[in-house]
């Protein structure tokens, strides 16, 4: 594959460098820099409107950026560099890059006209063009791993929120991504189903998956996150190990935020 800047990789799977992004007059990201080594789990916390959802959507180019660079696997995502400036890539190139980046949404976004099994298979089938006979056993095994082996034929409307989100995780994982993005994966769930989704995510994390997770689940962050990043008003306020950041925050804004969500 053509690659404008493979040499810039320094071992990090994800390198976000000085990213700026506005929606009209509203500056959502004002110079964000994060590096995530392969296999690391990073949790992003912060008040609503702090830019954390926008940040993860920029990583797989669901949102355009105004300036800065985002590299995944050493490749610039969504853009190519031309004379020091970034130019948006063709759709086919962006689509191919996204195949390696799994994403799980707050509102699941399962395909309602497809069964749980077809939701998991649709990527490998329609994007990777692999034969059904080959991917069906894989997809079934994936759904079994997330505890839904008995729900293969169920449509999303017949599943609880927690079950839907587990299907969504299986759907993203079916593309065998090198990176998984989670945008508040448990925020739209009933409290009693949050645990089952977090359990699946913990299994993924312990399996060595590189993950960037926007979440307020401190238990999850403390158990599996290598690092926690606190964002506010489009910048990173503070980052550190989960223990340190939750128990001994240095910044006033972090302290205030943690107090508010406890």
């Amino acid at each position: 594959m053509m690659d404008a800047a493979p040499a810039k990789s320094n071992g990090s799977l994800v390198r976000i460098l000085d990213v700026h992004k506005s929606f009209g007059d509203l500056k959502v990201l004002r110079g964000v820099t994060i590096q995530v080594p392969r296999g690391e789990v990073v949790c992003v916390i912060g008040p609503s409107g702090s830019g954390k959802t926008t940040l993860v959507r920029c990583i797989n180019h669901l949102e355009k950026i105004d300036s800065g660079r985002i590299y995944v696997n050493g490749r610039l995502v969504g853009y190519r560099e031309v004379g020091g400036r970034i130019v948006e890539e063709r759709e086919s190139v962006v689509a191919e890059q996204r195949q390696n980046i799994g994403m799980v949404f707050q509102r699941f976004n399962l395909f309602p006209h497809l069964s749980a099994l077809d939701n998991v298979m649709v990527g490998p089938r329609r994007v990777l063009k692999r034969p059904r006979a080959e991917i069906e056993p894989e997809a079934k095994a994936l759904l079994e791993r997330v505890g839904l082996g008995d729900k293969l034929a169920s449509y999303p409307s017949q599943l609880s929120g927690g079950q839907q989100q587990r299907v969504a995780i299986a759907r993203a994982f079916a593309m065998q991504p090198t990176l998984m993005l989670f945008d508040e994966p448990t925020s739209a769930l009933d409290p009693e189903t949050v645990g089952e989704v977090l359990d699946v995510m913990k299994t993924l994390a312990k399996g060595g998956m590189t993950m960037i997770v926007v979440t307020h689940e401190m238990g999850f962050a403390r158990e599996v996150a290598d690092r926690v990043v606190m964002m506010d008003e489009g910048v990173i306020v503070e980052e550190g190990r989960a223990e340190d950041l939750f128990l001994r925050p240095r910044e006033e804004r972090t302290k205030a935020f943690l107090k508010a969500i406890r």
């Binding site: 797989n60 669901l62 759709e91 086919s92 689509a95 191919e96 996204r98 195949q99 980046i101 799994g102 994403m103 949404f105 509102r107 976004n109 399962l110 395909f111 309602p112 006209h113 069964s115 649709v122 990527g123 329609r126 994007v127 449509y155 999303p156 409307s157 017949q158 969504a168 759907r171 993203a172 593309m175």
Partner: protein
């Protein structure tokens, strides 16, 4: 006070139950024209809708212009411009088109073109509304697993839009069946045209047009039965609550279907 009632019940019943073969042919022609024109209307309408939703300005403008023209003028006027007007001005004289055993006459060409292009304008708006109503998260999710927008449209968005399109589509087809009766003005012997011809020879106006009306009613009733089937098929994954909502939507669109 009633005048002398002149209603030939035997004539009426004969034409209703056992009409001469030209009536059956007229009925067949009505069905064929409606199906062909509706099919092209759906296909062209989908293209116009995709153009309307395209990221290219020129395509959007063209689609808006198309709908504006075809929806903003009466179909009878369109029909006469496309057939009589175009031929009179010498642009195209509508020679017969022969495809194997099939001969498509000039009036038939004009009829199919007009009905298809007119229908496409309405279908375009229906498709556009349906596609726009699909949650943005669906295309986000499709793109996130690496689909290109065309694949996402085909595999994710359109199948969901299809079930929303179904009730208004049934509506459109009903209007199409009835609308074919206009074609008698350019000399096509569909159901109504045939009845008018027989009327010219027998002067049994009330009986004949009543028979025509009953046949249109039979066709549209059969149509609504098929439609109910299709809707059930396309909404098999939905919850009961959503179905109730769809039913209400259909009621409203029946009224808005007037034109």
């Amino acid at each position: 006070m009633l005048g002398n009632i002149d209603f030939d019940g035997a004539f009426f019943l004969r034409y209703l139950i056992d009409p001469p073969s030209i009536v059956w042919k007229g009925l067949g022609l009505t069905i064929v024209i409606a199906i062909v024109a509706q099919t092209f209307g759906v296909l062209i309408g989908l293209l116009v809708a995709l153009a309307r939703l395209s990221r290219f300005w020129i395509l959007r403008q063209w689609a808006m212009f198309y709908v504006w023209i075809w929806r903003g003028t009466p179909i009878l006027v369109q029909l006469l411009i496309i057939y009589t007007g175009v031929a009179a001005a010498g642009f195209y004289k509508y020679p017969d088109i022969v495809i194997g055993p099939l001969t498509i006459t000039g009036p038939m060409q004009a009829a199919l073109i007009t009905l298809s292009l007119n229908e496409a304008a309405y279908m375009a708006e229906i498709f556009r509304a349906a596609i726009s109503s699909i949650d943005k998260g669906q295309s986000d999710a499709a793109r996130a697993i690496g689909m290109r927008s065309l694949t996402a449209m085909r595999c994710i968005i359109l199948p969901q839009a299809a079930r929303i399109v179904m009730p208004p589509l049934g509506n459109e087809f009903t209007l199409m069946i009835k609308g074919t009766s206009l074609l008698s003005v350019i000399g096509i012997r569909e159901l109504f045209g045939t009845m008018q011809n027989i009327n010219a020879a027998t002067f049994r106006t009330f009986e004949l047009f009543l028979v025509a009306a009953i046949w249109y009613l039979i066709l549209t009733t059969l149509m609504s039965l098929v439609q109910r089937r299709l809707e059930r098929h396309f909404s098999k994954h939905e919850l009961p609550a959503e179905k109730t909502f769809k039913a209400e939507y259909k009621e409203r669109s029946l009224l808005s279907g007037q034109r």
